[in-house]
């Protein structure tokens, strides 16, 4: 069958249009279903009461608190490590075998499935270091998981700071460290923050790495060492074990809205950043 190039182009275009519509519609469908079924479940009570009767009754307060604690610990550990690595790679060394090893390590770490992080955290933090199923074990496991994201985004942000700023700073008598802390890092902040926000999103939604390290106890966490259930884990258990579909939808809606806000913030920051650079 021979088609004229023009007809062929029209057919292909229609075909691509159709495929794109499917992809976009399917993705939007997920969003719409969660929000449509979940939003009616949301109320002040849902957000401010602890779960009761294994999650059949009450709200999700303790899981929100656990999620926040876990995410906080993860970033508290991962941010200095990630930004420090990025500073070393961009400011303190030239491209060499060493930097390639460091970058390769970060890229490999980024590809490791979360369940492997879960296994690792379980053996190291829960068992060997005897932190037990706890906020601390879960937070540290998540820290390692988001580390590559923070390294990569920080490195890009620092690299995009004009070289002339460093030169000027040196010529005015600054040490390397003063140039970094007073000029380079302040200019790179929006990019670094973007990486941190992305990591927050990943930590909030993570299940596999958390369920074996933070546990799934349904109570308000009282210390770093208390076992606790995050929103994502709570949602998984409600849905998988069919505890309560309305509560599952409600929890999913809170999760999805949190992720939406985080992503929109990231997007907004990046746009602002790009505009400022040009």
């Amino acid at each position: 069958m021979l088609l004229s190039p023009k007809t062929e182009q029209k057919i292909v275009q229609a075909f691509l249009y159709f495929f794109t519509s499917i992809a976009v519609l399917v993705l939007l469908f997920i969003l719409v279903v969660i929000l449509k079924n979940g939003l009616p479940q949301l109320s002040l009570e849902f957000l401010t009461k602890n779960p009761a009767d294994m999650g059949r009754e009450g709200g999700i307060l303790s899981t929100i608190v656990a999620t926040i604690f876990l995410t906080f610990i993860a970033l508290l550990v991962a941010t200095p490590l990630g930004v420090g690595t990025a500073i070393y790679l961009t400011e303190y060394t030239i491209e060499s075998r060493l930097t390639r090893i460091i970058r390769f390590g970060a890229e490999c770490l980024a590809g490791i499935p979360s369940i492997i992080f879960g296994l690792f955290g379980f053996i190291l933090f829960v068992n060997k270091l005897k932190f037990g199923w706890s906020i601390l074990s879960g937070g540290l496991t998540l820290a390692f998981m988001v580390l590559p994201t923070i390294i990569r985004t920080s490195e890009e942000a620092i690299k995009s700071v004009p070289q002339a700023y460093r030169l000027v700073s040196f010529s005015l008598g600054s040490t390397r460290w003063q140039a970094i802390t007073r000029v380079v890092l302040p200019s790179a902040v929006p990019g670094i923050v973007t990486g941190i926000i992305l990591s927050i999103g990943r930590s909030i939604g993570e299940t596999a790495a958390v369920i074996f390290t933070a546990g799934s106890a349904l109570r308000m966490p009282s210390s770093l060492f208390s076992s606790s259930r995050t929103m994502a884990v709570h949602f998984y258990i409600l849905a998988k074990e069919g505890v309560s579909m309305p509560k599952a939808y409600g929890t999913a809606a809170v999760l999805v809205i949190a992720i939406l806000i985080i992503n929109i913030m990231t997007y907004y920051l990046m746009e602002k950043y790009i505009k400022r650079k040009s």
């Binding site: 997920i30 420090g84 790679l89 390590g105 390692f144 040490t175 299940t207």
Partner: protein
């Protein structure tokens, strides 16, 4: 002077130590997983682990073949669904759609990459599984359901990486081709896609890594029977699900066998990572 020099050296050394955090974490993870997982593999023989068909931990029978086959099946299925949809969308959004539509849709698609995997699994469980059960038969929890859900999950990854690498092709290539009288589609097919090929391949491999490593969404829709499925409508268990399903109560050799599952998963992922790294490095070089 000497004090400043000392400070600088101190900072440099501390940063070097910090910079090794990612490499050290990777090393420690590798060591722990292998330390926990390999002894039992050698105790019962590598062959019985890799090719044994029976997974009965209580009877000390640790055949992982059903799970290896399961992981490969759902990953392959995810690619069949995710790659054509993803590539078509990327080509459409970069070459054929209005700029304004692309500016709106690209962030929306990237946003969907951030939706937690459990949410995808849940949607699959609520809508896709009953749909398959009623229209195609079988239990619904199946290879097909897992493949479709994973295919959708890797869409954002495939689309955004493909868009980036198609955009990286210089406009002069397109102009040259159009100037020679080619239509837009001919230009895309003969000039743009070949030039963007290694970036697109790297994106597909990353998507593949995401599919093979995904756990919770798969557990929710795959049915999780530890047998090699006879058809795509039958339940399946992947390597990741095998770990997640039994880790909660396993002990002794059973737990070690789950770590052995982790070892196999780890090796598969590392191979994929290395391929992806090499492919994207090749594009950068060009």
């Amino acid at each position: 002077m000497t004090k400043l020099d000392k400070n600088d050296r101190l900072i440099r050394i501390s940063l070097l130590v910090v910079a090794f955090s990612a490499v050290s974490v990777l090393a420690v993870i590798t060591i722990f997983i292998f330390e926990q997982g390999t002894p039992i593999m050698f105790k019962y023989g590598l062959k019985s682990f890799l090719f044994g068909q029976d997974w009965y931990p209580s009877e000390k029978s640790f055949g992982l073949l059903p799970m290896i086959v399961g992981s490969l099946m759902v990953t392959f299925g995810a690619l069949i669904i995710g790659v054509p949809l993803g590539l078509a969308s990327a080509i459409f959004l970069t070459e054929f759609s209005h700029r304004r539509l692309t500016r709106f849709l690209k962030p929306v698609i990237e946003l969907l990459a951030g939706i937690p995997s459990v949410v995808y699994g849940f949607i699959g469980l609520m809508f896709l599984v009953p749909f398959i059960r009623e229209n195609f038969g079988g239990p619904g929890l199946s290879v097909l359901a897992a493949s479709i859900i994973l295919g959708i999950m890797i869409l954002p990854t495939v689309i955004s990486i493909a868009i980036d690498s198609i955009r990286a092709v210089p406009d002069s290539y397109r102009e040259g081709s159009i100037a020679l009288g080619a239509t837009k589609w001919q230009t895309v097919r003969m000039v743009v896609l070949p030039a963007a090929r290694s970036g697109i391949v790297a994106g597909i491999i990353l998507g593949m890594g995401r599919a093979i490593g995904e756990t919770m969404a798969v557990i929710m829709v795959a049915g999780n029977a530890a047998d090699i499925p006879g058809s795509i409508l039958q339940p399946v268990r992947t390597l990741t699900s095998n770990i997640a399903l039994e880790m909660g109560y396993a002990s002794g050799e059973h737990r070690e066998a789950l770590f052995a599952t982790g070892v196999i998963l780890f090796i598969i992922i590392m191979i994929l990572n290395t391929i992806a790294n090499l492919t994207s490095a090749r594009q950068k070089k060009r």
